[in-house]
Symmetry: T
Subunit: 147 residues, 12 copies
């Protein structure tokens, strides 16, 4: 039985509250609740954490070193700008999956570069909230093979 950290980056606290026609009406709390429930079925424990602060996300990753086996990470806008979070993830060496709600390749050109993709276990983008489920599925698969 493994410990998973569900890490969400900046502005994701607005989920479900803004542009419901585009992102759906599920709030971040809904998604976190749903993922927590799903992970219980796999006998893993998932702990959600969201912050708009790069430093808080970094501290959470640091603290994850002794507490978590896997990270599900939606870096949101920090995908394109944060070398510090990349360094944090490499520093603690916990495997992680990069998740994007929208298709980052169909938006502004600056969104097509990620500081995380080349060091992630895998990347899932464009599936909305379902992307988290897919990532959880993949994480469980990874943990099984690793154990």
């Amino acid at each position: 039985m493994a410990q998973l950290l569900l890490l969400n980056g900046p502005n994701l606290n607005l989920l479900g509250l803004r542009e419901p026609h585009h992102y759906g009406t599920a709030t971040l709390a809904d998604i976190e609740q749903h993922l927590t429930t799903l992970s219980q079925r796999t006998h893993h424990t998932l702990t959600p954490f969201q912050s708009n602060s790069e430093a808080e996300l970094m501290n959470e990753i640091h603290a994850a070193r002794d507490r978590y086996d896997f990270i599900l990470f939606n870096p949101a806008a920090f995908t394109h700008t944060s070398v510090a979070l990349r360094d944090a993830l490499q520093g603690v060496a916990i495997p992680f999956i990069e998740i994007h709600l929208s298709n980052i390749h169909g938006r502004e050109p600056f969104r097509s570069h990620s500081y995380f993709s080349d060091i992630a276990q895998g990347v899932i983008s464009g599936f909305g909230p379902l992307g988290y489920e897919l990532a959880l599925h993949a994480a469980c698969d990874y943990l099984e093979r690793a154990s």
Copy 2:
């Protein structure tokens, strides 16, 4: 009940035969069998097709117009070079998911551009054969919401 096309591009026929330490020992036939079985559980029908020929893949996509509701597509090397397959997919207007076995962001720089990502429903990369399962899962979810 929907019809799904599992489309695999060039060199994927070598799967499981080459570099087993890297890609695992599952052959393409194994994966196709596994996906077919999985899709039956969801009461959808999945038909696999692989070709090393850009023209044959294009023809299959053209023919898909009247036969399939969704495409699971691993364009492999054509990801980076085929405008013709992009045009074919846009021409038939069938929703599709782009799948990559390996993490294309952690390899040669020319692999980080895709002619498909911006028009796909979503992209899944880096999870090996599991990626197909995740894509099937996402396709079913899409078809349910669309029906």
Copy 3:
């Protein structure tokens, strides 16, 4: 009568304290006081907020959703680096004007790109503290036309 948020980004708390020969001797408090007084004459209410923290600015923008009709925003150094603040502004969909004290086109090349200009109502740069007054003027004009 509308609510305006005057948002100032990193290092602007140093205004008037550093390089007085270059930026003038007006402190940020002076400017905030002056703008508040000016806005009262137009029967609008202006609330100033400054932070060196990207997360605090983001939180303020999030909170602005239910409280403010317009934002006067000098993103300072975050102009060139913060996708997260861009996303926050798009998320809350409050119209805003981008303000720069100095002429960003006459400085280092990296300052000529802004993550905000293409989604702002307008951009005012190079006029020192007067730029805030011009922006207030333009905001009032916008609010009148919108009401």
Copy 4:
């Protein structure tokens, strides 16, 4: 009396079947029939050939060496990716006109480069099916001047 080859590249077999509001309802067969009739009036013989296969198009160009005096060529997606077809055309040294149905300059940036334009007699783009007529007109003019 000259022999003309009307060569159409990938996905053009879908013409008239997809996006009729955009490309009109004329099918490729309609266009080929129309061009054949038009060329007869000029006492030239036009033979149509379409393929989704780069190799088949190449073989047709090779075979054209002893059979055709001029090529009307819509390379479609291969415009932007096929050095092999460029080499084939240079190898057989038959004069040709490059035709595009849509305005390639008003679409994705990767469509603004052509591997054929600098070696073509001329380029006609953006006029829909009419572009073929214009090209036939120009080809006849060329053949008259050359004879």
Copy 5:
């Protein structure tokens, strides 16, 4: 019956006078006369205008707003440098075809970018004086479909 403007840009007054082995011996007056005659057969009226002055061309385009239904435009050297003429054409919103006598893709690299192609109805390049005839043909076709 429609009104067409045949607009020719800088240096085209030299046509037929310079490099006859390359551009042929037809002068601009010859071409204008020929096009005027051809348009009469289609019951349209064509008025020619040439200038070496960007401002005069701009003024002619402005004046065209109430007088012409279509513009045949060879911007010559201004193809690569004039945002002002682009703005003028967008301002009056008259449909136009871009014409080039020589193959601009087979010359200096700076000639491969045009400020007009993406907003033109279509582009014809490389056919010498015949290009004007082809454009007239296409303009008539456009006017018929539009009427």
Copy 6:
């Protein structure tokens, strides 16, 4: 009491006549009249000049050397192409403000470079006709501080 020159570049004579839903119904004459009246209240004299000709604008700037204290300048399309007007402004060394009606950062990429911004007192863009008022306000402020 100072002399101000209101300089408007190419195509701005079309203002209010084209795309009224986009640019409003105010003509250039309206704007010039409005600015002239406004400047009188500040006891300054404003003289308007518009031309579609780069040479005429240049000559006006040259002539300004002995006649004007400040220039309000909307270079329109010449913003992106005219080194000659840049040199003229540097030659006469009259302070000026660069004005754009629309948000040039939200349009075609070639519009994001200006040959004037780095040598202007300041830049105002995206506010429509109001931008001229803001610039007049800033010019008066400049002249007061300079006197």
Copy 7:
């Protein structure tokens, strides 16, 4: 005694038939015959294969896995465009030499990039048909050292 595959890409079937003053009068059949004879002297067996089809070349490379010890490969136009053939060669892991008849560095700029050079044993370019002999020589040397 080893098995060698002589693989020739698109348009090379035209060799000796086109531009004899440039490429000489030796046909591909002549070269294949000559190489076969030469390899016999070294007690190796060389099998020639040419195709204009990327898919057929790929299939031949796949089939080579159990049949050949070394590949002499002239990818011709596919040098610059085929990631799929690169992947095929890496997939079967057979050592190969890249050969070009002409000096690719003295031609169009797009010919100076190869998708094969960095994974080839070595590259020989510019020597015409002799290049194949040099490559055979090098292959024999490699096979001797490897045995």
Copy 8:
């Protein structure tokens, strides 16, 4: 006797805890202790400060204006992304040395650009913890010459 600030950026709190074979087993506390002791021998006072928060580092730099004569700064990941810290350092105008533990030129390409190097007194990179000692030595030398 001068006051020195030893400023360490994001993730450096992990020092000695992660990848000891690479960075050695010295923790940040060890280094801070060692530098403090060394500085006492030079009769200077060194105060260490580390934060993962860009805002806290900025605030520390602002506060340094009245308290410190020199800054030894390892910006870590912020080297490549923080214009705000650059502006802070220029705002307070305290001389500083940029320090990197590892050789940033031998890592990912995005690490070869620094927002600090051109405004630093000097740069020391690649020497591990010893780099801090070298920087302290250089700072003392600077302070002596400046006094």
Copy 9:
């Protein structure tokens, strides 16, 4: 005895009137007078022409075809922007020398590209008014060798 045209581009009418400490006090009239006198000594006739208008310069070049044997040309700001003047010079095929008063390589980066240098007989830059004398010297030498 030959005819020379001394052609000066935009803003050069300000010479001697602006920035005398930088460009000297010689006006354009002084220079033109001096060159005319100098050319008489060589038994050649030099005619000066200056314009701020690209069209007037173009017309002068066109008219030069039957009147002048050589052109001394300082294109000033048009150096970097005028394809039309380049085309005019190539159209009339009169040999010319490109002259710049200041060192264009020591100024803004956009000044280091010239549309004339590659088709000029030679280029002289950085010598102030003396550059015209050197060019006259070179022109006479050219005319002697050509006669």
Copy 10:
């Protein structure tokens, strides 16, 4: 019977002494001896010359004008930096082959550009010392055909 110059550039004197596991144990003297012997069999005379000095290599190329018929040249590091040696080879107009021991395309990006490839008879890279033999073979072939 022809005279050949075997020219080796900087650091090649270290051959066989450094990194024997990578470059083999053959010293430059061994290679020079071997090539000299091989050339005698072809009744040609080969003279070896190595220098670490660009000037000495240039002088040797100058002196070659009257003494040698062909040059076998391994420019080593000067491949990527020496315009002077390129000019020397073009100045004396002696045909030459460019040789590289290692595969320059599989190393640092700056090694993929050569100042010699576009003017060489051909290029051979990646075959270690054998490359010299292949080049000698090709040189003899060239000399036979040229005689």
Copy 11:
């Protein structure tokens, strides 16, 4: 006790003689004397060598293979242009430190790339002559840890 080579590149013989206000009055001889004395205190032997010749520096590096344990290297202008010296240092595999007197990041853009930084033990730049002392300190530290 180790042997150190102090290697100085082109123009450094002018040190102390040119621009004393900028580089100080210490000559290269002074620095070499000072470093020699300092190294003696650490019981190491330091030998200085300066040359303006790339070839002489290369030869000295070659000769260092059997004589020196460490190199302190200021490549000066060769930093940006010499692949040959890079190859020499890699060939002899002696650890070295790269030193620059001035801050190369605050000068012309072409100075920000170094052919040595990624293979050096570390880089020290911007500290004037003190940089050599720091490098000596670091070298001693390296030698101690390595012994």
Copy 12:
């Protein structure tokens, strides 16, 4: 009476010996003799120096510090590659003119960048041997104005 150094770079010793149809039959000795004679008429002394060695040219520039007032410099191929010679010229601070025999803008793209133009008094290119005379003329003019 001033001392002038005529400095010629690599391969210029071949002048008059190679490609006489292109560069004329004047040897470097002829040119040096001619310039020496010309300078005597102006009561200046000119000393010629040519070398193919960057180091020798650098040493000559160093030695020039106490001996020459002006340098006429044709850097030839070193124009595009030598930062060291640039540094040497800046180190000795002797004014110089950059001369090129051929028009460097009409040749390979890599020849359009010079490491000397932005720090030269002026640049003269494309006039063959006459360029030296023009430079001497300009040097004398400079020396007169400076004295």
